[in-house]
Amino acid sequence: MAYPYRHPSEVLVLSKYFGDPEARTLKGWEALGGYAPLRKALGMSPAEIVNEVKASGLRGRGGAGFPTGVKWSFMPQKSDKPHYLLCNADESEPGTFKDRELIRWTPHALVEGCLIGAYAIRAEHAYIYIRGEFFEPAQILARAIEEAYAAGYAGKNVMGSGIDLDITLHIGAGAYICGEETGLMNSLEGRRGEPRIKPPFPAISGAFGKPSAINNVETLIAAAHIVQNGADWYKQWGTEKSTGTKLFCVSGHVKRPGNYEVPLGFNFREFIYDVCGGTASGRPVKSVIPGGSSVPMLTADELDIGMDYEAMAAAGTMLGCGSVIVMDDTTNIVKQVRRMVDFYAHESCGQCTPCREGTAWAAKILRRIENGRGTQEDLDTLLSISDNMSGKTICVLSDAAAAPIVSSIEKFRGDYLEMMHAGAGVPVAAAIAL
């Protein structure tokens, strides 16, 4: 039962116990079969776990969709250096609120996922980096970690296996960029959360200069299910290249917002109109962002696609972290794009000129258009800035900021032109003040 609404088309693996306060507790979790996957994992070799996860086709749920088993296989097999598992619970992508639900309803699922992930990459310590604003979920998670230690699921000699697995909850302090994997590592080390130039990749030199693997909350929880039930079980859902189920966060002008868990490849139109009940107002859909503010927007005519990594890419957008933002036909697209670009301008760490300057200038130009003082040339300037922002920076925040700009100009040029027309009567002095 995904929360707060449910639908018969859902397949409940990760979200099965959302809305059940009992599942939160150690006793409740154990009664539901919790920590059996950990027990099973400790009876396998790390390589066996990595191979099973690889065979399952599980792909990272934090946005990039990189195959998890492959990522884990990059970790050195033999090394006297310590290794680290980092769990990315920074969840700050506008439109995304799945990790928060996973943590607050099933904290032990994440603790277990981290312990299994750490063992699989031969790490003895897992750090969970959770965004500082998630005070309440962090308190729930803290309680669960303490319970896991007290029950012998974490710490020295886990469940009598002779293996040591530590887990530490690390609280962020407010910065979207700390969700980027190397930004997160710098932040964990007590630095500004500025992304690092790659290579070296985290598997060679990550947190504290040691081999590290970083995974999203949902990824680690899914991996625990795969260890317990096997790769074939997981592959019964989804498409050939996008296997399994995924949580989709639905927000905006939608009748039944919330998290829904469906198999990858689910029809997007059916998802929006049937599962989520269409728009709250009953008005037509104008645009949908399928994967969080960092991915290109779709129009209402482009929804007959599967909700999987390949189909979204073929449609010119991305599945991202599955954050579906629905906009009905009353939406002022220019304003919303400006708001998203304001966000990226605020969150740019400032290391790269195209990102630092590009986001700031694009936001100013968009604001001018929004205030009715734009010209057609502004659209060309925006596209040129966006081009300079894409593929030229240390991390992809810059590319992400360009995505809504470019896609909205391509798909909703008429909206931009209308605003320019509307503002024709504003005095020049006022325009300068804008």
Partner: protein, 227 residues
């Protein structure tokens, strides 16, 4: 209303809209029987010990304003104990910087230059380095704020559902300007970026607590409940 003994508070039962609007704990949609406490996990968490509990989670209580000891020593008593536990979890001292700043922030309500210098001294890091790190993050207030720091999300999902109007309403009903402290010292209202609860718009964070599904007309009741 917000307690700082390590306990998550629940809304008073006299709260008029708590019943009408499950949004105070998120839209409980098809789960009407869930209380706000059930959703927020209050009975599960209980009261967290002042000394931070197990070392694995000793850095997990970054309380926001109001300050507990604006003039008091940062690294003393249970707080020093908490720092020691935090330090035991990382391969180097520098990694304890964010938790140490949280701790200082919790005690003093904001990070003044002097407070940051004290943290620098304690962790043997250059003072300028500590200031550079602290200023990178939005949750560290570098100057005093009101007793209640109201952060209204106006990012896209909340914005589509009226986030701007909720922000306006908070500014109007607290009689403040954005980012300023109200005359009575009670409120500072600021605009926030996505708070990660987008399905429950508009999302407002007041000190460490989230208020969800807030509509502009509910703002006075929310503010009243804080008095």
């Amino acid at each position: 209303m917000t307690q700082h003994g390590g306990k998550l508070d629940s809304p008073p039962s006299s709260w008029p809209i708590a019943q009408q609007n499950p949004g105070f704990a998120g839209d409980t949609g098809e789960f009407p029987n869930l209380s706000a406490d059930d959703v927020r996990g209050i009975s599960y968490v209980g009261i967290r010990p002042e000394d931070g509990g197990h070392p694995s989670v000793a850095g997990s209580m970054p309380y926001q304003v109001p300050p507990k000891q604006p003039e008091g020593p940062i690294f003393a008593g249970v707080y020093e104990e908490r720092l020691q536990k935090v330090l035991s979890r990382y391969p180097d001292r520098q990694a304890a910087l964010l938790p140490a700043l949280h701790l200082a922030h919790e005690l003093r309500g904001h990070l003044s230059p002097e407070t940051m210098d004290e943290v620098a001294e304690r962790l043997q890091l250059p003072p300028a380095y500590v200031r550079g790190v602290a200023s990178f993050y939005t949750m560290y207030n570098l100057g005093p704020v009101g007793k209640y720091l109201v952060q209204v999300c106006t990012n896209i999902s909340c914005n589509l559902c009226g986030g701007d109007a909720v922000l306006e309403s908070f500014l109007e009903h607290t009689g403040t300007e954005m980012g300023m402290v109200s005359e009575d010292g009670r409120f500072t209202v600021i605009e926030a970026e996505c708070l990660g609860a987008c399905g429950f718009p508009t999302v407002v964070q007041i000190n460490e607590r989230f208020y969800e599904n807030i509509r502009p007309e509910e703002v006075p009741a929310v503010l009243d409940s804080l008095r």
